[in-house]
């Protein structure tokens, strides 16, 4: 901790850490120094000149946002001189401000309004017409910019330079004609664009989805948690008439002195919210009759039907004929109940894992997310945090650009990082590269650096030079698990900081695992006496007809599971499938009873973030049509109807809290032999000229993002990324439409995008798009081969917003 100094602010003696900014020191006695451009998480810029303060002994007024306290300083933040200075700035700012507060989305929470009241004059003295800058500038798919309202504090520009490092936003032109613009007039395409609307102290940057929907005083804020990815960001959900109007992040409340890299929210939670009121949302239980005839049911009938059929199945075919998949999207309580119901029937066939992963809990090898700040080497394998954990990725970017950490990605498709990183292609075998590097480190040889050396050797050199190593992993692959364990053990033995962060595929994957939604683990990571079937096992048992009833709660395996052929076969074969869903997803269509449930914003419960923190959901809005129940209610009804011993609400809270205890997670080891998985028969992969890689995209998915009209423009277009060499060889061009096919299936309607991010002979296809599901090409979870067939030449008038980002 830094040395403390004593300063006198407005006559009050204040203890403050040496070097603290005065604007922060003044907060200690509750004095607010007005400012536009200053923001605690950004570097001081000194542009608005609003935070003028007087320091005794200095002739000129100084900036509160860029002057640091030293011992014995005497500071005035409230005095006539200071106020005169501030009045001048407000008068200047209002010279060309349109004062259209009544129609401005910021009106009511705008600092310029506040300061105009505090420091502004009643009438203008300028006597000149206002600048006629453009209004309602379409900055990109998410943001509208009003140049007239802009006070040019450049918070947005600085955010884009200092926090995301994407450098989309710039200032253009000069003097009073200065405007905010995008680099090269490209659309402002960022996963974090929504944050700029919150950073904007005035109403210059507004969200397209929230434009003119409500005024700040209309909405009721609720602090809840985003459940779109495993990061689990705390989010304010603002509702009006019980309809969610916007989500936002409030630094003042949630994180007043937060560190710059953490705690922003991404555009998925900000702009993918109108699915809640989408007319395609399910609002009544349904049962399938015939091929695709659906009959509405009352809740009581639906529960009776499901309960009696499940009981019958358990009685006739034995409990092992029942299984449950899902839980990654549910709350901890719901995940607990799901496994409780299935285990209550005598089966252990429960699994939350939909991407063939091994684990979501780093256990005793864990690194915490904030460990990235001190990391000197960050190795990412398997996952792609840019797409799968965007806000977490900001911390990675910060560690690299600000703290000088080295970032390495092991994998086949180069990620879209805007920061410096090294990419080591692994050809699907990251484990052996890690092992080789670890072996090299263990031997302690320091081979001279030379051009063209194998990546493992470079990696070994980086490892040797690193003090603290953080591995980011998606939790897939037993050999990767072993390699990571070995490497971290080796580094820890050498007294280096080392740990792994697992970025799960589902928002509450870690919570579901801790709640026992795992065939080999009971709640609290206790090994189960008798392991059940995992997802692969259940699917195989289904396909062979052994599994008779399947509960799919909050999951869409048909789109998500890598082995698409197996899921299709399994879902065709199982005689009874109960699904809880918000929408008629690909999986729901194949099931027999579909139960409408509430979304995360509409229910309470707890969720476990990838960092192991348990956060509480809160009800911020209500379903607008029908009568969906929460999964928790559904499971409670089902359990009761089957005569199972169900925990009461308070018992459930206690059980879930106990199972989510952090010490249990810390004791867990993901290489423990009890986690052994179903042995897969060797598949004969379909032949093809290209290796197909699934490219994750934040906005992909078959549920909330596919059923949201307002979000539609942001969704990625089905895209095939091809190396320029291959594009030339195949005689293709950017924008051509191709089909990728092999013996198992075909993915149609893919637009060709030339990208050096994929290797020669590889093709990257965006994963989990319902209109182009890439998993139809696979009948195993390993590598996939397919051919590329040209369908149509020429670029179409497509919205390539999602396909870009190169």
């Amino acid at each position: 901790m830094a040395k403390t100094v004593t300063v006198t602010i407005d006559g009050v003696k204040v203890e403050a850490p040496e070097g603290e900014l005065m604007i922060e020191a003044a907060k200690r006695i509750g004095h607010h120094v007005p400012n536009f451009c200053y923001y605690p998480k950004l570097e001081p810029a000194g542009l608005c000149r609003m935070c003028l303060i007087r320091i005794e002994g200095q002739p000129k007024l100084q900036l509160g946002c860029n002057t640091r306290v030293t011992d014995g300083m005497v500071i005035d933040t409230i005095s006539e001189a200071v106020e005169t200075g501030r009045r001048a700035q407000v008068e200047f700012l209002l010279l060309n401000h349109p004062l259209d507060c009544p129609v401005c989305d910021k009106g009511g929470e705008c600092v310029l309004q506040d300061y105009a009241m505090a420091y502004g004059d009643v009438a203008s003295r300028s006597g000149m017409p206002k600048m006629n800058k453009p209004k309602a500038v379409d900055l990109g798919p998410t943001i509208v910019l009003d140049e007239q309202r802009c006070v040019l504090c450049q918070r947005c520009v600085r955010f884009d330079n200092e926090i995301t490092w994407e450098r989309n936003l710039v200032t253009a032109s000069r003097g009073v004609y200065t405007i905010i613009a995008t680099e090269g007039d490209q659309p402002y395409d960022s996963y974090f664009s929504g944050n700029t609307t919150e950073l904007c102290p005035v109403g210059a940057l507004t969200s397209k989805t929230y434009r003119f929907k409500a005024r700040p005083w209309d909405v009721t804020p609720t602090l809840t948690v985003c459940t779109q990815c495993p990061v689990g960001c705390s989010t304010f959900a603002d509702s009006r008439f019980d309809v969610l109007q916007r989500t936002r992040y409030d630094h003042e409340t949630i994180d007043p002195h937060g560190d710059p890299a953490g705690d922003w929210i991404c555009d998925r939670v900000r702009y993918n919210i109108s699915y809640l009121t989408d007319e395609r949302r399910l609002n009544t239980p349904m049962v399938r009759s015939g091929e695709d005839q659906w009959v509405d049911l009352a809740w009581s009938d639906a529960i009776d039907l499901a309960a009696s059929t499940l009981k019958d199945a358990a009685e006739h075919f034995g409990p092992q004929a029942i299984g449950a998949i899902g839980g990654g999207r549910l709350t901890n309580q719901e995940a607990y109940l799901l496994q409780h119901v299935v285990r209550g029937l005598g089966s252990a066939n429960v699994d939350y894992r939909l991407h063939d992963e091994l684990t979501a809990t780093p256990g005793r090898l864990a690194a915490q997310v904030h460990d990235l700040d001190d990391a000197s080497l960050i190795i990412e394998l398997g996952t792609n945090s840019v797409e799968l954990a965007p806000v977490f990725d900001l911390r990675v970017r910060y560690a690299v650009e600000r703290r000088g950490a080295t970032l390495v990605h092991l994998g086949d498709v180069k990620p879209n990082w805007p920061v410096h990183f090294r990419h080591f292609p692994t050809e699907g075998d990251a484990a052996s590269m890690l092992n080789e590097a670890a072996e090299n480190v263990r031997r302690g040889e320091d081979l001279p650096k030379r051009a063209g050396e194998p990546p493992a050797q470079t990696l070994a050199r980086l490892l040797r030079g690193a003090e603290r190593v953080v591995v980011i992993w998606d939790g897939r692959g037993a050999s990767e698990a072993a390699a990571i364990e070995r490497l971290i053990g080796l580094l820890r033995d050498a007294d280096k900081g080392a740990g792994v962060i697992v970025v799960g595929y589902a928002a509450n994957a870690r919570g579901a695992e801790s709640m026992g939604m795992h065939p080999a683990l009971q709640p609290g990571y206790r090994p189960a006496p008798q392991a059940g079937l995992d997802t692969e096992g259940m699917l195989r048992a289904s396909a062979s007809g052994e599994l008779k009833a399947l509960l799919i709660f909050g999951a869409n395996p048909l789109l998500a599971y890598p082995n698409g052929a197996l899921v299709r076969a399994a879902l065709e074969r199982v005689p009874f499938i109960v699904t809880t869903e918000l929408f008629m997803t690909q999986t729901a269509v194949k099931s027999h009873v579909v139960l409408p449930v509430k979304a995360a914003f509409e229910k309470t419960g707890s969720t476990t973030t990838m960092d192991g923190e348990v956060k509480q959901l809160a009800i911020s809005c209500a379903p607008q049509a029908g009568e969906p129940l929460t999964d928790r209610e559904v499971l409670a009804l089902l359990g009761d109807a089957m005569g199972l011993q169900m925990p009461s609400d308070s018992e459930l809270e206690q059980l879930a809290a106990a199972a989510a205890a952090p010490e249990l997670a810390r004791a867990f080891s993901f290489t423990s032999p009890v986690l052994a998985r179903t042995v897969r028969p060797a598949a004969t992969p379909a032949q093809g000229a290209f290796t197909v890689h699934s490219v994750p995209r934040l906005y992909a998915g078959g549920g909330t993002s596919a059923h949201d009209t307002a979000f539609e423009p942001l969704r990625p277009h089905p895209t095939a990324y091809l190396h320029p060499g291959d594009v030339e060889e195949l005689g293709l061009e950017d924008g051509d439409t191709v089909t990728v096919r092999n013996g198992l299936g075909a993915v149609d309607g893919l637009t060709v995008v030339t990208s050096k991010k994929v290797a020669r002979g590889s093709i990257g296809v965006i994963a989990e798009l319902p209109e182009a599901p890439v998993n139809v090409l696979a009948d195993d979870c390993g590598s996939v081969h397919a051919d590329v067939v040209l369908i149509r030449k020429g670029r179409q008038a497509l919205n390539l917003a999602g396909a870009q980002g190169e």
Partner: protein, 212 residues
């Protein structure tokens, strides 16, 4: 004695018999109001037919009775309602809640919402007294509505002097159409929109005698 007292009393009674009646033949005769009487609301237009209301919700927040609900939306070139970027997609006043204080009128930055002197809005259901845009907005064919700023200001000197006006209502012709709870009446074969006073002025205003 007693008889005298009785006649004294009856004299008062009979005296009133020959005085002018204090009651009027409402609704066939209506009384004029103070120029700034706070009655039913009206949403005004511009000369070009555009709505004045920009959906800013300032009336909603100014309303002490929470009677107003406004939801804004964005104008598009194809669907333009008001001159700026924003218009009131939904504008509702619960006239049962309204206390006719006129704060909405004062808060309005575009002089869109005004209180007219109209007051006849009795109806049979509560829901019919939640006035939405279709009832509040001046139909384009009836002009722009009267600006509150154009009304004579202050307390009129002749407040005590209440004019008798004869309504143009002809019961046998019935209602022609209804908008915002005020009947549009037919008179002499042409559609007639009630004046702010609610009818046609017949004769000079006169001082009502007694009973007031």
């Amino acid at each position: 004695m007693n008889i005298i007292a009785i006649f004294k009393g009856l004299a008062t009674t009979f005296g009133y018999m020959f005085r002018r009646k204090a009651t009027i033949d409402y609704p066939f005769v209506k009384r004029a109001h103070a120029s700034r009487f706070h009655g039913l609301h009206e949403l005004r237009r511009y000369e070009d037919g555009m709505e004045r209301c920009i959906g800013c919700e300032l009336c909603q927040i100014a309303c002490p009775a929470n009677a107003i609900t406004v939801v804004g939306a964005e104008n598009t070139p194809e669907d333009r309602h008001s001159p700026g970027e924003r218009y009131a997609y939904r504008y509702e006043i619960d006239e049962l809640r309204c206390i006719f204080c006129g704060m909405c009128e004062e808060a309005c930055p575009t002089d869109a919402i005004t209180l007219t002197p109209r007051f006849e809005m009795a109806n049979y259901t509560r829901s019919s007294l939640i006035y939405d845009k279709s009832k509040l907005l001046v139909p384009a064919e009836f002009g722009v509505g009267e600006s509150p700023l154009e009304r004579p200001g202050g307390l009129p000197a002749d407040l005590g002097e209440v004019a008798r006006v004869k309504s143009t209502m002809e019961p046998e012709k019935g209602y022609l159409a209804t908008w915002r709870g005020i009947d549009i009446l037919t008179s002499k074969g042409k559609t007639y929109m009630p004046t702010p006073a609610g009818g046609e002025l017949v004769g000079e205003p006169e001082q009502l005698k007694g009973g007031q």
